[in-house]
């Protein structure tokens, strides 16, 4: 598909897993290991989609999300969280909320949906 997807996740094992999964599915995957790295990557690389964890030490997923939204055009987001909390549902489009743990198929579905939404 040629889409470039940025994965922002502080857990290295999960980061690597998702990178492999995305690679296998035909996407180009960029990774960032922290919120601040993620924001830098958004500005420098302009990915087609940002997948980010919510709870990270330091800069959290909400900040990453805001940054992605502020880009022109706004970048779609998949937000992962181990604990879906009410506050993690801001009015951001396009955004998909994905609860951990998830099946790989669920993850890919969310990615496709987010990319599809942004094309509307």
């Amino acid at each position: 598909m040629g889409c470039r997807i940025l994965v922002v996740e502080d857990d290295p094992d999960l980061r690597e897993t998702l990178a492999r999964l995305l690679g296998r599915s035909g996407y180009t995957c960029l990774t960032a290991s922290s919120g601040s790295d993620g924001i830098r990557a958004i500005e420098v690389e302009s990915p087609d989609l940002v997948v980010t964890d919510l709870h990270m030490p330091g800069t959290d997923g909400l900040a990453v999300m805001r940054c992605a939204r502020e880009q022109v055009p706004p970048i779609p987001i998949v937000l992962m969280t181990a604990y879906p909390t009410p506050e993690a549902q801001p009015e951001v489009r396009p955004m998909i909320l994905l609860a951990k743990p998830f099946a790989n198929a669920q993850f890919l579905g969310a990615v496709r949906q987010a990319l599809g939404n942004s094309r509307q």
Partner: protein, 525 residues
């Protein structure tokens, strides 16, 4: 006017004077020196007596007035001429005249003096007089004259009325006060106790008074109390007893209960009374305990959520990696590896469910409504409670119906119900025992059943009748809420509960739910 109208006033006066003179010569009842108008030499004392605020008047046996002193004249605001000869009863206010007449009529040689209180209408309206009537007798014992000395006692009378009213009010308040009130003298003896105090402490009406205060206190507290009591009377002031301490009251049957006491001192001539207002706070303490329990649950919920959150990340990694590995194996002939990975994956998913269960624990959430497998609910609950039951010496036997039809509901809530039943079963078997959990088809079609039975102490019919009530508990540490919440959850799932129990034989709960295909379920959605 009196029957003696015919006689002139002057004749009457003359008659009296003559009689007086006779009496004085013969040493009559009133002695010498006192006189009506025109009589010689009142000495200073007598003049003072007559001229002071006391009202004095005299009349003949038939009631005709013969004399009034200045004070009386001023009091009745009439000229003596108008009064003399008139009836002394005219001085009495009308409602009291009959009493006055009877009183006067009773006077004679057998009863030479009498006291009466009655109203009169004086210059300043209705007043109360206290009067002393004395008869003057002739040597033959006949009444010659009646002398009346009276004082205006309106103020005292009003005070007495007010006092009576206040006493009556106090008595009513005392009797009907919501709190128990006990009055104790400085010797520690109960001198007052209202019906609430008698009821609270389990004593028969009227039998609490006279007992020592120690009767209301547990033995172990008596020593300290005696000291406090002495201190209090030494320096009495109104306060709460034992601020911050838990005080305990003791009923007649020996049972104890928590109380709050506030004290008031009422002084009197003999050391005063300590009035204790006692409130039974058992209910309040139960509510506090329950509130603390709820808070504890909330804290546990937060802790559980934190743990769950920590677990979800590694579980996610495990699950995703296993799926990747399974993808890698596609097309390769490695059935054992694939099977192994499937087992691992299944357990990873199960870990995920447990973490999800922990997250839901204690959290305010909308109950789910989705198709669920009751067997899975049982398994998941046992994952959470199994170890704890084992440690308490409880052996669990699980018999799950294979292919049990699914039902609709909230798995977490049902787990809570089952957990509650299991913990109750454990509490019923303090020395250990067996709990049997069974899932089965219902007696009626479209129904499934969950049966939880133990071999514990069982319940009497009386206890059985109350178990669904909130706050009912037979355990000293129980809040009495678990079963009532469980019953509510079961009801929300359109389920019913049947309980069978026999003391020392055990208890069986049979819960019936409509299954997915049941028309009941479809209607309620």
């Amino acid at each position: 006017m009196t029957p003696d109208d015919a006689k002139t006033r002057e004749e009457l006066l003359a008659e009296v004077q003559a009689l007086r003179a006779r009496l004085e010569r013969s040493g009559g009842a009133f002695g010498s020196g006192r006189g009506s108008e025109g009589a010689p030499c009142l000495d200073a004392q007598q003049r003072a007596f007559v001229e002071d605020q006391r009202l004095v008047w005299r009349c003949r046996p038939d009631g005709a007035l013969t004399f009034l002193n200045d004070a009386a004249r001023r009091f009745f605001e009439q000229e003596p001429d108008e009064l003399i000869g008139g009836s002394s009863l005219a001085l009495v206010a009308e409602p009291d005249r009959a009493t006055a007449q009877a009183h006067l009529g009773a006077l004679g040689s057998a009863k030479p003096a009498g006291v009466l209180e009655h109203r009169v209408v004086g210059a300043s309206g209705a007043r109360w007089l206290l009067r002393v009537d004395q008869v003057l007798l002739d040597p033959d014992g006949q009444v010659v004259e009646v002398e009346t000395v009276a004082r205006d006692v309106t103020e005292q009378h009003d005070t007495r009325s007010e006092l009576r009213l206040r006493e009556a009010t106090l008595r009513t308040f005392f009797k009907s006060a919501a709190e128990a009130i006990v009055g104790v003298d400085r010797d520690g003896r109960i001198v007052l106790a209202n019906p609430q105090a008698e009821a609270m402490f389990g004593h028969e009406r009227g039998l609490l008074v006279g007992q020592r205060l120690e009767a209301l206190i547990p033995d172990r507290a008596r020593g300290a109390h005696t000291r406090h009591q002495a201190d209090y009377f030494h320096e009495p002031r109104n306060r709460s007893m034992g601020l911050g301490l838990t005080l305990t009251g003791r009923r007649k049957d020996g049972s104890e209960f928590p109380i709050e006491v506030s004290l008031t001192h009422i002084p009197d001539d003999s050391g005063g009374l300590a009035m204790a207002f006692v409130t039974d706070i058992s209910e309040r303490m139960a509510r506090d305990r329950q509130a603390r329990h709820v808070e504890k649950l909330a804290a546990l919920g937060t802790l559980a959520a934190g743990i769950a959150h920590e677990l979800n990340n590694p579980i996610g990694v495990i699950q995703s990696r296993i799926e990747l590995m399974l993808m890698d194996l596609e097309g390769q002939e490695k059935p054992e590896s694939a099977a192994d990975l499937h087992v691992l994956h299944r357990h990873a998913r199960r870990l995920g469910r447990i973490a999800q269960g922990l997250l839901s624990f204690g959290r305010e959430r909308q109950p789910e409504r989705r198709p669920i497998d009751l067997n899975e609910v049982v398994e998941d609950t046992l994952v959470l409670t199994g170890k704890q039951l084992n440690r308490d010496g409880i052996h669990t036997v699980t018999i799950l119906h294979d292919g049990l039809p699914r039902m609709v509901g909230d798995p977490t809530a049902l787990e809570q119900v089952l957990m509650n039943l299991l913990l109750n079963a454990r509490d019923a078997m303090p020395g250990g025992g067996t709990v049997r959990i069974e899932s089965a088809l219902g007696a009626a079609p479209d129904n499934i059943r969950l049966i939880v039975s133990d071999t514990g102490e069982g319940m009497t019919p009386e206890v059985l009748a109350q178990i669904a009530q909130p706050f009912f508990t037979t355990k000293s540490r129980g809040t009495g809420l678990g079963l009532s919440v469980s019953y509510t959850i079961i009801r929300d799932h359109a389920g019913t509960v049947e309980v069978q129990s026999e003391p020392d034989r055990g208890t069986t709960f049979t819960i019936t739910f409509p299954c997915l295909s049941s028309p009941v379920v479809r209607l309620s959605q």
